[in-house]
């Protein structure tokens, strides 16, 4: 990978990096990240622990088609300034297989699958 710029960041402050997230400083050739979540929103605070298996929902296993790159692109970069400068970055949270990367990447693939459920209290009929 030639003609790649350098990244210069003076100051970074991050509060939380959680659930398989990454902070990477430096160049990366390949990176893959997967996240799957079964999100339950209940009207009352009530937890049963393990509730369900990902295997029971096809959304967590269905194939996500990636559009093929059919157009042949001749790509030319002219880096008149070979440095990307950032003075200050403040991030409160990085979550669920997300990536914060300082430096260049050759190939990246990131995937997220969420199944969202709401459980509400039954109300007396009017």
């Amino acid at each position: 990978m030639d003609g790649v710029r350098n990244s210069v960041v003076q100051e970074i402050s991050i509060n939380d990096v959680v659930f398989g997230s990454n902070v990477r400083i430096g160049d990366t050739t390949h990176i893959k990240a997967y996240s799957r979540a079964f999100a339950v929103q209940r009207e009352e605070e009530l937890y049963f622990g393990f509730e369900v298996s990902f295997d029971d929902f096809p959304i967590f296993s269905e194939v996500i088609p990636l559009p093929p790159i059919t157009v042949n692109i001749q790509f030319h970069r002219y880096n008149l300034d070979p440095v990307i400068r950032v003075d200050h970055i403040n991030i409160i949270g990085i979550s669920s297989s997300s990536i914060f990367h300082v430096g260049s990447i050759k190939d990246a693939y990131l995937e997220s699958r969420v199944h969202h459920v709401r459980q509400l209290k039954s109300r007396p009929e009017v």
């Binding site: 790649v4 710029r5 990244s7 960041v9 997230s21 990240a33 997967y34 996240s35 339950v40 009530l46 369900v52 029971d56 996500i64 990636l66 157009v71 692109i73 001749q74 030319h76 970069r77 002219y78 008149l80 300034d81 990307i84 400068r85 950032v86 003075d87 200050h88 970055i89 403040n90 991030i91 409160i92 949270g93 990085i94 979550s95 669920s96 297989s97 997300s98 990536i99 914060f100 990367h101 300082v102 430096g103 260049s104 990447i105 050759k106 990246a108 693939y109 990131l110 995937e111 997220s112 699958r113 969420v114 199944h115 969202h116 459920v117 709401r118 459980q119 209290k121 039954s122 109300r123």
Partner: protein, 59 residues
């Protein structure tokens, strides 16, 4: 197709981010290929009104 890009000076003073989530990517740098996919499923049967019982797997 031919694509010509001229990268001149790039200098950012300050970046404030509340959250990066669900397989998101925030990067300072150059990238050759980035592919991202996301599914979010909340079907009609995912709105459950009734007594709070543990989620019973279907099938």
């Amino acid at each position: 197709m031919e694509l010509n890009v001229i990268n001149r000076e790039l200098h950012v003073e300050n970046i404030e981010i509340i959250g990066i989530a669900s397989s998101a990517l925030f990067m300072i740098g150059d990238a050759e290929t980035i592919q991202q996919a996301s599914t979010f499923d909340t079907p009609a049967e995912s709105l459950i009104i009734g007594p709070f019982v543990p989620f019973v797997p279907r099938g």
